[in-house]
Amino acid sequence: MVATVEEGDAVTTFDALDTMVADESMVRVRMAVDALSQKQKEVFMLRLEQGLSYKEIAELVGTTEGAARVHYHNAMRAVKEFLDDE
């Protein structure tokens, strides 16, 4: 008797693993974002979640456009370092 692997089973297994990895990645990213300072977190999320420009972010958080840009890139570097250290 030859065992056959149904195509759907393989796809299902892959999807589950992919979802698990994705969930784990999201948990780690969430932890990295939570470790940011309050100002970095605000700027970072307004940029990535809302897609706001630095000018709009600066008006919302009460800072300058240049400072908002610096906060964003510092936050991105901090997230990368957090994920590298994991």
């Binding site: 994705a22 990645s25 999201m26 948990v27 990213v29 969430r30 974002v33 939570d34 309050q38 977190k41 605000e42 970072f44 999320m45 307004l46 940029r47 990535l48 979640e49 897609g51 009460g62 890139h73 991105m76 570097r77 997230v79 990368k80 994920l83 590298d84």
Partner: protein, 175 residues
Amino acid sequence: MMNDCENIEVREALPELMLGTLPEAERVRVQQHLDACDDCSAELAIIRAVRASAVMPAVNVERIVAAIPPYRRKRTSMRRVYLELAAACLIGAVGISTFALRNSGHGATPAANSAAVVASQGLALVNTSDLSDDGLAQLTRDLDKLQAMPTVDPESVTPAALEDVPEPASAGDSA
């Protein structure tokens, strides 16, 4: 180890690429860079994960409250003021009219009622100190006439009986 790509322009465009708001030409250019840059690909993966994790920033309530303009009461129009004044006047007029109607005929004092009765009998209340001798004599004669009138039951008095009442003797005659 993730590093920062030196192409700042492309890195700045990654959020918009993820949101799908990049113009087509720029999107193609950024995509071509991504195919050859592991750092930017890693950064794009982080952006995708951040958006998927739906981590929301802490809400600064104080700043939001401070941004809300102070409440100002809407100015009352003059038409509304006039309507309110008219309503107040109407209510007052109705109240005063009701009060006056309820007290008409019932609010008179006993003294006033007595005065009305005396006046209806044709008698005048006079101050005798102001009367001359002739006036005093006339008043005395009137009183004598009243005293000379017979005491009868008012129910038994008929118009015919009133005509038969003899004229009392005058004070001058008796004197």
